[in-house]
Symmetry: C2
DNA sequence: TTCCCAAGGTTGGCTGTACAACTCCAACTT
DNA sequence: AAGTTGGAGTTGTACAGCCAACCTTGGGAA
């Protein structure tokens, strides 16, 4: 349970999550009734339901009226923050992340950037080109556009800094929502040079727009991965839908 | 609002969703306070919060303690069912979906299939190979494995049937959870023949395991798309995280 | 045996209340 | 002019209760 500063339902959710990933209920097994959990944790049923809805959204348990909840899978589900940060992700799978900033520039935002980052005409943005490595092997090229207030933080970082999200968080930039588009694209000359592939080779592309709790865009990024280095995993459920297809541009 | 058989919070969510996609609050605008909405709809604040949590998970609105909710985007978000069915997706973007079953076979499940579909030794599965088209142009090859009870339904379908999910739903097979893995792979000979590309060409691959409300697997599928025909869109938030990266196999 | 039905258990949905934590803005102080 | 404080407004968390919808089980009926 730990940390009393956390909301009760989060503590319960974390505890149940551990119990599930430790296999306490087995895969395909049944959870105790909500009322039983409520009594066990000494909280109301509403709080238990809140905790379970978190696990439901993560795809750890199902729910169906009339019968106990079923454990769907016992795999560890990354937290939201891990899923956003290349560095955190790499460390969580036991790889050593690295990288370096190839190019960074403060320029007036073009029309697309103004639209994506919701800026006014004349506002400036920081464009960052970065190559990222796992165990010193280049696997991804990242092109990110930041609005001025965020870009200043990134520009102040060491070009070889492993993580940009950590300093951003320390400076109060918090990301709570991200919208991703995943498809395939061909390598351009920069990609070719930085990743060691040929121009035109297929790369797995993730485009991402992240926003803070106030709804202001924090970054607009395009990541290109060498095939075979990464896969994206998505869970969706009738309770919390999140994956969709889109016609490619 | 419509249909009284729907739960109240879903009606409210649908109504607010329409209001938002119609631009009633603008992009970046603020929603009325929960208590105001509660009074307007004649329901309790709890019900409003339930409705808003749906929109939150879809990335339509943010939420932050102390201040009103902000409209994140006004784009239409596909429903869970649309995102699962190629046919529904194609129609929703105004394309004419088609396809045909190339091969279907009832065979004993191999070890991987038993693991994925949670079957016993000796159980049989249906393996289906299918090519799918948009406006008569092949764009995707689909390899699906069904457990026996579901496979029987699919096997009874016309090989040229546009949709398998519709008959499945009519026969009481409901999907409530799906786990997807998205990456890039090379075309094999079947892909090459059916999609008209060369062996080894890069394809966007989606692997999917779907389960019903009881937690029993309903299908295990691998879809391979020609590059440029589709992109996957994902929203995740601190409230309902569901995207993760995975090391490629 | 097989089918049907009733009863009990369980989750879904909704209401109402209370307080805590936080944001924002205006008025005040320095 | 700049910083501080305080209060009103808003969402987050938690509790308690009620009924409906649904599933499972077991016993009775055919």
């Amino acid at each position: 349970m730990a940390d009393a500063r956390q909301a009760m339902y989060r503590q319960v959710a974390a505890d149940l999550r551990h119990a599930i990933t430790d296999g306490a209920y087995g895969s395909g097994g049944r959870l105790p009734a909500e009322s039983a959990l409520a009594e066990a944790y000494g909280v109301s049923r509403g709080t238990i339901r809140q905790a379970l809805s978190v696990l439901r959204a993560d795809g750890l348990v199902t729910s169906r009226r009339g019968t106990r909840r079923v454990v769907l899978g016992t795999a560890r589900v990354p937290t939201f923050r891990e899923s956003l940060s290349f560095t955190r992700w790499a460390r969580s799978i036991g790889e050593e992340p690295g990288g370096r900033v190839v190019d960074i520039a403060r320029v007036p935002a073009d029309e697309v950037e103004r639209e994506q980052l919701r800026l006014e005409a004349g506002d400036h943005v920081y464009r960052v080109l970065r190559v990222r490595t796992l165990s010193a092997v280049p696997v991804m090229v990242e092109r990110t556009v930041y609005p001025e207030r965020v870009g200043e933080i990134v520009a102040a970082c060491d070009p070889a800094a492993v993580s940009h999200t950590v300093p951003m968080e320390e400076r109060g930039v918090v990301i709570t929502d991200a919208h991703h588009t995943i498809d395939v694209t061909g390598a351009d000359e920069d990609d070719s040079r930085l990743l060691g592939c040929r121009v035109g080779d297929a790369l797995l592309r993730e485009r991402r727009r992240s926003t803070d709790p106030a709804g202001s865009p924090v970054e607009w990024a395009e990541d290109r991965y060498l095939p075979g280095t990464i896969a994206f995993a998505v869970h969706n459920s009738a309770a919390a839908s999140s994956l969709s297809r889109r016609p490619a541009l």
